[in-house]
C-alpha cells in the first residue's frame, strides 16, 4: 500500500471520538458564522462529557452515542448520499430499513472508540460558506505524542432551524464520499441494495457479539 489510506480512521477516531474543545477563539467567531462553529464546538464538548468516562459500560456508551448521533447528524441526508445512484431505485421501506441499519453500524463501529480518549483538543479555525445552504466549519485536532495536528472540516446544514452535520472531512478525505464509494462498489459487485443491507446486518451482529464477548 502506498500513501496513507489511514486518514479515514484518523478521521473516525478524531471526529466521532476524541474531542475536547478549545473554545478560546469562540467569542469573536460566533457572531459571524450564524452559530455553525458554536454548534460543532458544543457537539464536541458534549461528546467528550458523555462518552469518554472509562467507568461506564458499553451499553450505556452506545445509548448516549446514539442520542448524540441522531441529534447532531442528518442521517437521512447521509443515508441517501451514501447509496449514490442506487437510492433512486430504493423503495420507501428499503430506505427506512437502510437508515436504521446505517445508524446501528455507525454506533457499533464508533461508540467504543471514545473509551480510548486521551485528551486531544479540537480548535476552531474558521467557518466558511460551503454552497447549497451549507457551511464548512474548519477545525484542527491536536494529536498526542508530538504528531502534527490534523485538519478536520465539518460540513453542516440546517434542518428546521437546527444545525446538522452532513460530512466530516479529514485532511481532504471525505468520510461520506469514501463511504459512498465503498457501498456503491459493494452493491455493484454483489447485487444492489438488498445485498448491502444483508452485509450490514451481518456486520452489525458480528460487532455486537464481539462487544459482549
Amino acid at each position: 500500500m502506498s500513501n496513507r489510506p489511514s486518514f479515514l480512521l484518523a478521521a473516525a477516531a478524531a471526529v466521532l471520538a476524541l474531542i475536547t474543545v478549545n473554545a478560546t477563539m469562540l467569542p469573536a467567531r460566533a457572531a459571524a458564522d450564524g452559530g455553525a462553529g458554536d454548534f460543532i464546538v458544543n457537539l464536541g464538548e458534549r461528546a467528550v462529557g458523555a462518552l469518554t468516562d472509562k467507568s461506564i459500560d458499553q451499553g450505556l456508551r452506545q445509548e448516549r452515542f446514539r442520542d448524540l448521533l441522531k441529534e447532531g447528524l442528518d442521517l437521512r441526508h447521509i443515508a441517501e448520499f451514501v447509496l449514490g445512484s442506487y437510492r433512486r431505485r430504493a423503495s420507501d421501506q428499503q430506505m427506512q430499513d437502510f437508515l436504521s441499519l446505517l445508524e446501528d453500524n455507525i454506533v457499533q463501529n464508533y461508540a467504543r472508540r471514545f473509551r480510548n480518549y486521551s485528551g486531544e483538543e479540537l480548535k476552531l479555525l474558521n467557518v466558511r460558506d460551503g454552497g447549497r445552504d451549507s457551511s464548512i466549519v474548519s477545525t484542527e485536532l491536536s494529536q498526542t505524542g508530538g504528531a502534527p495536528p490534523i485538519q478536520v472540516d465539518w460540513r453542516v446544514h440546517e434542518v428546521d432551524g437546527q444545525f446538522k452535520v452532513i460530512d466530516i472531512v479529514v485532511e481532504g478525505i471525505s468520510m461520506m464520499v469514501t463511504q459512498r464509494d465503498e457501498y456503491v462498489g459493494y452493491m455493484r459487485s454483489n447485487g444492489g441494495i438488498d445485498a448491502l443491507m444483508d452485509a450490514l446486518r451481518k456486520q452489525n451482529q458480528a460487532l455486537e457479539k464481539r462487544q459482549e464477548g
Partner: protein
C-alpha cells in the same frame, strides 16, 4: 539493454505492469446497461476492475505474509530510529520533488524544498529534520501531480503489483520520476553490487515505514469495510486530488468535496464536483 533495465526497478515494475495491461485488455469490465449501475461504473473510472481486483488480492497476500510482519517488527524500534529513517527517505527524494516543484511553476515551494535539502544535509546528514522543526515543512511532489497540473486527466484507475493503487497518469509519473532521480544514476555508476538496487531498497524501506505508521488504522479499515478494494480506490483518488491542489499548508485548507446528493457523480473523478470552496 540490461544496463538500461538496471536503471530503475521501480520504473521497470511500472512499465511491466503497463505492458501487462496491453495483453489483458480483454479482462475489461463490460459497461453495464442499467442506467444507475452505469452511472456508478463511469464514476469509478475503473474499466480494468476485474484485473485490478486480482492484483489487489495479490498485494493483500504480500501484505499479510510479508509486509505486515516486517512492519510490526519495525514498529518496535525506537521513535528516534524510525523518524531518522523517514527523514532520510524524504531527504533523498528532494531532487525529484524540487524538479517537480519547478515544472509546476511553484517557485515558493521549490525554494522550500531546496532550503530544506541544504539545511538538513550538513548538520543532520538527512537523518534529522531541522528544517521541519524550523517550520519549513516537508511536502511531497511527483511527476503524476505535475502532469495533473499541466491538465492531463488521471485516466483509468490502475492497481500495480507491489506498488499499490495508481492511475494511468500516475504510473507514467513513476517512470519519469525514476529517470529524474539521481539515486537511479548513482546506482548505475557505483561499483558496489547492491547499489544497482538502491532505488528498490529505498522503495521497500518506505513501504515498511509507512505500513508501520498506519498499522492500526489500516487493520481497522480492512475489518470494517464491506469492499476494501473500493475503499482504497476512493481514498487514493481523494488523496491525490488533495496533493495535486497542494492543499497541505495551513493557509490553504484541504478541499472539501461536494456533499450535494443532487450532484450525483460528476464525470470522472469522484471529487470533480468540488464544492464552491468559499473563494
Amino acid at each position: 539493454m540490461s544496463e538500461w533495465i538496471g536503471r530503475s526497478r521501480r520504473g521497470v515494475i511500472a512499465l511491466a505492469a503497463a505492458g501487462f495491461l496491453v495483453f489483458t485488455l480483454g479482462a475489461c469490465a463490460t459497461p453495464p446497461a442499467d442506467p444507475d449501475e452505469r452511472a456508478a461504473y463511469e464514476q469509478t473510472n475503473d474499466p480494468l476492475e476485474p484485473m485490478n481486483r486480482s492484483i489487489f488480492g495479490f498485494n493483500m497476500f504480500v501484505d499479510a505474509y510479508l509486509l505486515q510482519p516486517i512492519a510490526q517488527a519495525y514498529e518496535q524500534l525506537p521513535d528516534l530510529v524510525r523518524n531518522g529513517v523517514r527523514n532520510l527517505l524524504r531527504h533523498l527524494k528532494s531532487p525529484v520533488i524540487l524538479a517537480n516543484d519547478l515544472m509546476q511553476g511553484e517557485v515558493d515551494r521549490a525554494g522550500q524544498t531546496m532550503g530544506r535539502f541544504m539545511f538538513n544535509t550538513f548538520p543532520g546528514m538527512g537523518f534529522l529534520d531541522l528544517a521541519g522543526e524550523a517550520s519549513v515543512p516537508y511536502h511531497d511532489e511527483d511527476f503524476g501531480q505535475t502532469l495533473a497540473v499541466w491538465g492531463v486527466d488521471s485516466g483509468p484507475y490502475l492497481m500495480l503489483p507491489f506498488l499499490g493503487p495508481s492511475t494511468f497518469r500516475d504510473t507514467g509519473g513513476i517512470v519519469v520520476d525514476t529517470y529524474i532521480d539521481p539515486v537511479t544514476y548513482w546506482g548505475d555508476n557505483s561499483s558496489r553490487d547492491w547499489a544497482e538496487y538502491a532505488g528498490l531498497i529505498l522503495g521497500v524501506t518506505e513501504a515498511i515505514d509507512i505500513r508501520s505508521r498506519n498499522y492500526r488504522q489500516l487493520e481497522d479499515l480492512k475489518e470494517t469495510s464491506l469492499d476494501f478494494y473500493a475503499t482504497v480506490r476512493s481514498l487514493y483518488r481523494q488523496q491525490r486530488k488533495s496533493l495535486i491542489e497542494n492543499r497541505d499548508g495551513v493557509d490553504q485548507p484541504a478541499p472539501v468535496p461536494s456533499m450535494a446528493i443532487e450532484d450525483d457523480f460528476g464525470a470522472g473523478d469522484a471529487l470533480s464536483a468540488q464544492a464552491n470552496l468559499g473563494e
